[in-house]
């Protein structure tokens, strides 16, 4: 069990901001920290890792204090059982994939563990390559395998999927879930992608300007505001054409032209070039899978 009660004053572009976090995380849980950039998500992760020192508070992991400002305890990152995946992956460019994963391991165990991780992450073919010869998705997998090598108590993931395209992201989300089930580390994921939050985590903390504004399961947290029973799109009127007693309005939404029927009274407020909102009740949508 991890108990985190920390605060730190951050100096941001919009002036000073107080990051305050208080929460308890159970063994093996998968938590996401969700929020806009600059909300303090990464700083919180870094405080748990020991890379940033909180101004005050405590971080207690399985009864052992990692940080306690009152008792002047501050364990160095080297002595905390953590695995961290950085936003830029931070792979060691001078070492091969296998060396990156195995660097932290004692020599006698290295071969077995590295072999297993290479297999689990599907990296056997790439074991001898240097990071600059890998694609973004492959780098991400190496970073994850490296973070898991020491079987850490806590796995910290700082937007590990944000730099990847959608298809790769979905694939790696599956992989992340699989690895989590296999090794069961308590996991904290920083994300600002809602679909990721829903797919991966049971519990989410929403951070905004340094404070936790909401927390709970993704459905609880997002059901009032973000999930609605309506479709809404922003668009731009590109053409208006009379058709009998009604008008057909062509609206550009993204890259698609949508035709919407409008009455004469509605037309009075519209003209070509106007920004409009199209909304519809979602009681009868057509839903079909896309080919990938």
């Amino acid at each position: 069990m991890i108990q985190v009660h920390v605060s730190k004053r951050l100096h941001t572009a919009e002036g000073p901001m107080d990051l305050v976090f208080s929460g308890t995380i159970e063994q093996g849980e998968f938590i996401t920290l969700f929020g806009p950039s600059g909300a303090g998500k990464t700083t919180l992760l870094r405080m748990i890792a020991g890379l940033t020192t909180p101004d005050s508070g405590t971080i207690i992991v399985d009864g052992q204090p990692w940080f306690d400002s009152g008792r002047r305890i501050n364990l160095s990152p080297r002595r905390r059982s953590i695995g961290m995946v950085f936003q830029d992956y931070a792979l060691f460019p001078n070492l091969t994939v296998a060396e990156n994963i195995g660097l932290a391991l004692p020599r006698e165990k290295r071969g077995v563990i590295v072999g297993e991780l290479l297999e689990v992450a599907g990296l056997q073919e790439l074991a001898g390559r240097k990071p600059d010869k890998l694609s973004g998705g492959q780098r991400q997998r190496v970073a994850l395998a490296r973070a898991l090598a020491l079987k850490p108590t806590i796995l910290l993931l700082d937007e590990p999927l944000s730099a990847l395209d959608l298809q790769m992201r979905l694939k790696l989300q599956d992989e992340l879930l699989r690895l989590h089930q296999r090794y069961q580390p308590t996991t904290l994921l920083v994300s600002h992608d809602l679909s990721e939050v829903f797919r991966l985590s049971r519990r989410v903390f929403v951070l905004d300007r340094g404070e936790v504004t909401r927390s709970g399961s993704p459905t609880e947290v997002f059901s009032q505001s973000k999930i609605s029973n309506k479709f809404r799109f922003n668009g731009e009127v590109v053409h208006i054409k009379p058709s009998g007693v009604v008008y057909i309005v062509h609206v550009l939404v993204g890259q698609d032209i949508v035709q919407v029927i409008a009455s004469e009274r509605e037309i009075a407020t519209l003209k070509v070039g106007k920004r409009v909102l199209i909304a519809s009740k979602a009681f009868n949508p057509l839903i079909m899978p896309l080919d990938e």
């Binding site: 890379l51 830029d88 001078n94």
Partner: protein
């Protein structure tokens, strides 16, 4: 070939090589500290390291001469306890060259350390890898251009050193007479032919060394791009 000439050239490159090795060994911990510390004394240390860039070499040489003279307590102590005399000796010009070329090693190494992304050090820390192991397996291999630049600049600068060596070492053939001093010595004796021999060889070798560095650095840069 003139045996004096050969002896002087060998001595010159010996001094330069030993100085470079000593500087590399001293420079790595010092520049590591300078690159990563927030300590208040950092500014003072940085200033001291950079002093030889602006100080007349004769000033440094003069103080070393006074300091290491056997009549001075420090020089006397070294002389009586370690039988080490640092004035007008080979060891003395090594000490002088190390001090005088210090910024030429420290500055490239310090910017080399600074150029390695901070997340690499942090990643190593989260993996529990010790600072020493991080230094040798992560930091130094990723700053090869800086190490190369530091070594070559120190080497070339020591080869061309004049003022400090003359003050501390004098002009003893085979012991402290380095090429740049031999040139001065030969010109004073109106022996322009030998002076030219020294001058040209120094010129050619220094040019070749620097050319090599630039070529190697270009290869490093290209490797990083691909």
């Amino acid at each position: 070939m003139n045996p004096d000439f050969t002896q002087t050239m060998i001595l010159t490159f010996q001094v330069a090589a030993i100085t470079t090795i000593i500087l590399l060994v001293l420079g790595i911990p010092l520049s590591y500290w300078l690159a990563y510390t927030n300590n208040r004394s950092k500014t003072v240390v940085e200033t001291l390291v950079s002093m030889p860039l602006v100080l007349p070499p004769t000033v440094l040489g003069f103080y070393l001469l006074v300091f290491f003279s056997p009549v001075n307590p420090v020089g006397g102590f070294l002389d009586s306890w370690f039988n080490l005399r640092l004035v007008f000796s080979f060891e003395g010009i090594i000490v002088g060259s190390v001090l005088f070329s210090l910024p030429f090693m420290i500055h490239p190494l310090q910017s080399g350390f600074g150029a390695v992304p901070a997340t690499l050090r942090e990643a190593a820390a989260t993996l529990g890898i010790s600072r020493v192991k991080t230094l040798f397996t992560i930091l130094l291999p990723n700053m090869k251009p800086g190490i190369l630049a530091g070594c070559v600049l120190s080497f070339a600068h020591t080869v061309g050193e004049f003022g400090v060596v003359l003050m501390v070492g004098g002009n003893i053939p085979g012991v402290t007479r380095m090429a740049s001093i031999a040139i001065y010595d030969r010109v004073e004796a109106l022996d322009y032919a030998t002076a030219h021999q020294y001058a040209f060889v120094l010129f050619a070798i220094t040019f070749a060394i620097l050319l090599l560095v630039y070529m190697v650095n270009r290869r490093f840069a290209r490797m990083e791009l691909t």
